[in-house]
Subunit: 553 residues, 2 copies
């Protein structure tokens, strides 16, 4: 016997009047309609209003369509945080294509691998990166049309393609691009589950994986970011975070959704950062911890003052108390975010609790060091024992793996169902990050699975030791890894970079400093001074340090 259909399902199917795919492209249509004369993009002395910005994006879409680009094709871009990069986030998917924003810190062969893996048909590339792209192209065997961006604000460089970006744009259909009515003039996703872009993870070993985003997730994570950072038409966002990094943590779309202003920045350079903040009234920005360190340790001559407060969202490592306090003195409010490429960038934020207002700096920093709670658009996250798939107790001690399930988790890894299935085993996305759940519901990441040091049978969180090292006034950066040891199995080995070359600190000083701040088995037995090896996205390459630590033995 058939189950009777509920009266609430009878003859109430989806129609174009009440169902449309969610897509962040709709934010540009909205901003161009609501704030056509407002400044959308600032680039040096030039500005584009939302009307102009939308027109440029649609010219790009139109020009791509004229080339035969259509649904399911891939268009790659290699660009610093300049207008074409922002335009590509709208113009490319508006042609029906999928955007691959390349990491400009990668090497030629790796770039060639990603271009071929995602079957890119077009590469838009800023001449600043011509030498690395030339190297990449030498390894690419498939057909790839190259379009050069020759930005007057750039340092210049060889042109590699047949056409430059502005000429290409001017070949678009201007009438199409001018039409205030977006819907009939752009290629809209058939389904919000359609891919909008892909981002390659910079994986420390093996080939990078292509993380595919869909329109639904990009729309929702942008809305989540807008909510968490209270973006509005009065938001002025400084592009210190590379847009290739999870599409600028979805702020490429979120700032537009609020009708705010994007301030481009080709080079992350402290004089420019401070001047942009003062001259354009910047009030929000994002960046890895190294950006905060750069700002904090900028030459005094760069540190021009400004009246507004700038909220600086940071992720990748907990902001140490010294950084929080120093940034506050300069006019910045630091907020800790957490996320992964697989979660469209930020998924978790350290929501401020009014009760924390009363705390002293160190206690505040301890609260703020935690990754925190989920975005309102994140369906669920939990610290789970990966063996039993049970939640760990909320005791702030029991370590488990952070797992997430949400509409803002990637569609999957491109052409890699094995990796996709492994990542989604048991109905949860396995982040690979180990952490604890505090009694107030805040999560705190203790380490990547492979970064835990086991010494004499005791687990040592390398993050905990690093956090202590970061508080040392003369230490700029620190990373702690396991060094093999006959007696203890492993001992902690610290690699540190000092604030300046003439700082005088030796191994004994550092060890003594740690001894007063942690259990003795956690104190580094070895301290190595010098610059730290990093991935193209600025993450410290612990596997390189692990090799070095082995060689010390």
């Amino acid at each position: 016997m058939a189950v009777e259909e509920s009266i609430f399902d009878q003859e109430m199917g989806k129609t174009p009047a009440n169902h449309q795919p969610l897509t962040p492209l709709s934010f540009l249509a909205w901003a161009a309609r609501v704030y056509p004369n407002k400044i959308a993009v600032v680039h040096g002395e030039s500005t584009f209003t939302y009307r102009e910005f939308a027109t440029r994006c649609r010219l790009l879409a139109s020009a791509l369509k004229k080339l035969g680009i259509s649904k399911g094709d891939t268009v790659a871009i290699m660009s610093p945080n300049a207008p074409p990069m922002l335009e590509a986030h709208y113009g490319v998917p508006m042609s029906g294509a999928i955007l691959n924003a390349l990491n400009f810190r990668l090497d030629g062969p790796t770039l060639a691998f990603t271009l071929q893996h995602c079957e890119a048909k077009i590469l838009i590339t800023d001449t600043e990166f011509s030498s690395i792209i030339k190297d990449a192209l030498a390894h690419v065997t498939s057909d790839l049309l190259v379009i050069d961006i020759d930005d007057p604000l750039g340092a210049g460089g060889e042109r590699l393609g047949e056409i430059d970006y502005d000429t290409f744009l001017s070949g678009g259909d201007y009438e199409f691009a001018q039409n205030i009515n977006f819907w009939p003039t752009v290629v809209w996703p058939d389904d919000e589950w359609d891919a909008i872009c892909l981002n390659y993870t910079s994986g420390t070993t093996g080939n990078p994986k292509g993380v595919v985003f869909h329109h639904r997730g990009a729309f929702l994570n942008a809305m989540g970011g807008l909510t968490v950072s209270a973006l509005s038409k009065d938001s002025v966002y400084l592009w210190t975070l590379p847009m290739f990094h999870c599409n600028g943590w979805c702020y490429t779309w979120a700032v537009t959704a609020a009708g705010g202003t994007h301030v481009c920045l080709r080079q992350v350079e402290t004089a420019q950062i401070f001047l942009s903040i003062r001259n354009h009234g910047v009030n929000v920005m994002c960046g890895a911890p190294i950006i905060l360190n750069m700002i904090l340790h900028a030459p005094e001559t760069h540190k021009v003052t400004f009246d507004q407060q700038v909220t600086a969202y940071t992720g990748g490592a907990a902001p140490p108390s010294a950084v929080i306090a120093g940034m506050e003195r300069l006019g910045f409010k630091v907020v800790h975010l957490y996320g992964l490429t697989e979660t469209y960038g930020p998924s978790t934020f350290c929501a401020w609790q009014d009760a924390w207002d009363e705390l002293g700096l160190e206690e505040k920093a301890q609260k703020m060091a935690r990754q925190g709670v989920r975005y309102p658009t994140l369906f669920d996250q939990s610290i789970i024992d990966p063996e039993t798939m049970e939640d760990v107790p909320a005791d702030g001690k029991t370590i488990g793996e952070l797992m997430i399930r949400s509409n803002t988790v990637m569609k999957g890894y491109l052409k890699n169902p094995t990796a996709t299935d492994a990542a989604f085993a048991g109905g949860w996305f396995h982040t690979g990050d180990l952490g604890v759940l505090h009694s107030d519901g805040y999560i705190e990441i203790k380490d990547r699975s492979k970064d835990i040091i086991i010494s004499g049978g005791e687990n040592i969180s390398s993050l905990e030791v690093e956090e202590a090292l970061y508080k040392h006034p003369k230490i700029m950066e620190a990373a702690v890894v396991a060094r093999p040891d006959e007696k203890w199995g492993e001992t902690p080995c610290a690699f540190v970079t000092l604030v300046s070359d003439d700082a005088t600190v030796d191994e004994a000083d550092v060890i003594e400093y740690c001894r007063t701040r942690m259990a003795s088995f956690k104190v580094p037995r070895t301290v190595v001074f010098g610059p730290l090896p990093k991935t193209s996205t600025g993450k410290i390459q612990k596997y390189v340090l692990r090799e070095r630590a082995k060689e010390l033995s």
Copy 2:
């Protein structure tokens, strides 16, 4: 030959890790996790934290499930803006049921019609409305379990059912309700297209229509409202708008999504409004224009002062300049919204443009009188010629019908496919409202189709004449309708209510006042003084006035 699947669709289907139905129920799970100790609900001297509020909602869900309520059942509630009404917005759908929030201004037979039409199994009813509900129940022939709310802050009244609300709640499974992990303990929608609630329109003729909302639309319109009104954890929302009115324009869910505070209000009474604003730090509220008028014309003794600014969202008619200015003097910022039950409440808002800061009061009011631009979550709206289905020119003159297509348009009318199909004809939701599109992209409603007056072949917008009348310092409310006329076909007839009984204004004064403010053919030929007939949702019943105007002839 099969079309080759895109590489971006291969083996990247939906899994529980990356796809979950959108639902506003997730906002409560979020707020209970992020702000468990924050005040969620204020009711007189009592408060509930988010942890307590969430527990109560889940107790309600659990108690309903114990009664056998399951997916597709309907639970109705008759309540003022008190905690059980808010709890029903979460607890009822968390049991799998659909919520029908009843309009407490309706009469018994109409209520009986809606209860039977939506096949309600349970009715939760505040004793304040016992006499009207008793009348309704006398007309209901189906089985209906009645639960009484006997609110100590209420005026009291007869109990009609076998159990009272608090006892019913205490029968829920407390362990289930306490579990911090929401997902396994509540009935989640299988699909975001599932119905979450229905609201009956108060239609001026014929039986009311049951407008069905789904989880997807409720989630999105709440996010839209949150964005437009910049709700945050610091928002304190005063419930002046009845929650039965499109679920409080989705603020029942939006305030929770921001972690803000709901301040309940059983009676819309000016002394209470002002005291709530001062005592609880209210900074946002919604209401029909009559609420603004009440506040403005409140006795001076009620008008206690407060430090914060309160944003007052209003819809249903344009706020006249005198109201805007008067409210500003009292500490309120007025924002004009527009929407319909079929669009989950507000779909459109009059976004402020920085350039308007420079305008004088009258010019500002003219800008603000327009319904404006779409919510960022509204897919599209347009003023369309219903004959040709073409957009009208953006000239501020050509009248067309406002049409909308969006994920935030209703699922359909319950058991009324004919009305649903008519409303969605041509892939657009037909609002029935006539308006123009201005060159800046703002829409302005000129009238309901049937409210246009045609005099000597010229169209007269009754709204335009009313707007002029509202500016008269001694006129509190005004409505203009067509009066049949042998010579002109129709002439404008004004019905007005004066600010106070002892105001002295006569017909000649009003006509003279209008003559200096509009083309002579638009000036009312007849003016009638007295109270205006209204629907249960506070809308002026023009059809009643049209009948009266006929009788004058």
